[in-house]
Amino acid sequence: MRRRDAVVTVRSQTSGPGVRVSAPWVIAVLAGVLGIAVSAYLTVEHYTNSTSFACPETAAINCLKVTTSRWSVIAGVPVAVLGLAYFVVMTALVAIPRRAAALRALRLLGAAAGMVMVFYLVYVELFRVDAICLWCTGVHVLTLIVFATVLWRDGVGDRA
């Protein structure tokens, strides 16, 4: 028996693209909302100087070391704030269930940009700061989930 994604489709009566709420849509929105929550926590910790970080501290894992490093700010803006802004925008984009070409392109661009940033931040953690921040890793995983779901929804065009 073939497995099908649970899809609730509300086709518009016009010839324009349909409005589709699917399992990938739900996963993308959930990942976006979680991303907002974690980024907000990192932002609060950044501005309160991170004295209460809920993060284990070992030789390899040290959130404080990462979030207080000089790489935690890009062009004067804390990376945590950039992450928060990114997830707010991406959550809004993925929450729109329409599949208009411009919207799809925007989502794909945003998801790809997020992954490029993840690669940069992982590089900085490993080779510049010399420590891994677990909360940041959580954000990276959520970015990957958003990327994968956006790719699933928008990366392969419908031929039907």
Partner: protein
């Protein structure tokens, strides 16, 4: 409508449905290929980074080498106005000195302040400012340097004073600074500087350990023993307030009661001063009876 026409219509509909199903299945396969492949590439790139990191290893990095402190910095640290210190009280100091009931710690017939730290240590970097402000109220500091904490540790490259080789000229108080390591990496480790005497090491072993500090903070630096009556383990305020500031900026901020730096450093200095006053019998009177020190005295930690 005839029966044959109806049958042909059903067959056409079934063929169309089967075609749509084939197209949908092909699309799912394409999606799986694109998404699965992309995620696999991402995981592969991260894995390569981790493998390279593990293979190349890591280690500490040197900070800015210690130099003599500028006269301007020392002057500002030594002359924080009484009015500012009194206005701030304990400010935003977070951890007051802890009362201990050890043998009196004395040197040259005077109560002694033993400071143990390291130049690379960011928490020591923070505490030194407050210790210096407090000590300067009892005498004149000599031989103080300027240094930055490790660039690869928490609160990286925090600008601070250096106590290696420093001394205090005071009629009522002795000061013994011990910087165990510099901020310069030699053979993969921070180079050693001062060593502790057996008696000093015994104090660290006894008071920088449970029940005076949590088990996971055993041996933490900075460690300050104030006349055998009070001790400090770790920074007394949040070192984050010093981030991205130079020594000159920090020293200048100490006299501004609205500055977060002054509220942290001067507040901690008042607490340390109150603890020192407990060992000097309230001398000098103008310092120990000031309202800022009186306010701090009420916050001094209880005995263990």
């Amino acid at each position: 409508m005839s029966r044959s026409t109806s049958t042909r219509g059903r067959q056409a509909a079934q063929r169309a449905a089967a075609a749509r199903e084939r197209i949908a299945a092909a699309q799912r396969r394409r999606r799986l290929f694109v998404v699965g492949g992309s995620v696999a590439v991402v995981v592969l790139i991260v894995a390569v980074l981790v493998v390279v990191k593990v293979a190349t290893g890591s280690g500490p990095a040197s900070g800015k080498k210690a130099t003599s402190a500028s006269a301007q910095v020392v002057q500002k640290v030594s002359t924080v106005p009484d009015a500012v210190l009194n206005t701030i009280g304990v400010g935003t100091a977070q951890t007051p000195p802890h009362k201990i009931s050890g043998a009196p710690l004395r040197s040259g017939g005077k109560p002694e302040v033993l400071y143990v730290g390291a130049e690379y240590c960011p928490y020591c970097a923070a505490e030194r400012w407050a210790v210096a402000v407090a000590l300067a109220r009892f005498g004149t500091l000599h031989g103080v340097g300027e240094v930055t904490s490790s660039p690869t540790d928490v609160y990286p490259s925090t600008a601070t004073l250096a106590f290696h080789g420093a001394s205090l000229d005071s009629p009522v108080l002795a000061f013994t600074p011990r910087e165990l390591q510099s901020n310069q990496v030699v053979n993969g480790n921070y180079a050693p500087l001062d060593t502790l005497t057996a008696a000093q090491q015994a104090l660290v072993n006894k008071y920088d350990a449970p029940p005076y500090v949590p088990a996971n903070s055993r041996g933490a630096i900075p460690f300050v023993d104030i006349g055998g009556q009070y001790m400090i383990s770790g920074a007394s305020y949040n070192p984050g307030v010093l981030q991205h500031k130079t020594q000159k900026q920090i020293a200048a901020a100490l006299s501004d009661p609205s500055s977060p730096i002054a509220r942290s450093v001067d507040g901690t200095a008042n607490l340390i001063t109150a603890a020192i006053c407990a060992t000097t019998g309230g001398s000098p009177g103008n310092v120990c009876s000031s309202s800022g020190v009186a306010a701090a005295k009420a916050h001094l930690g209880a005995s263990s």
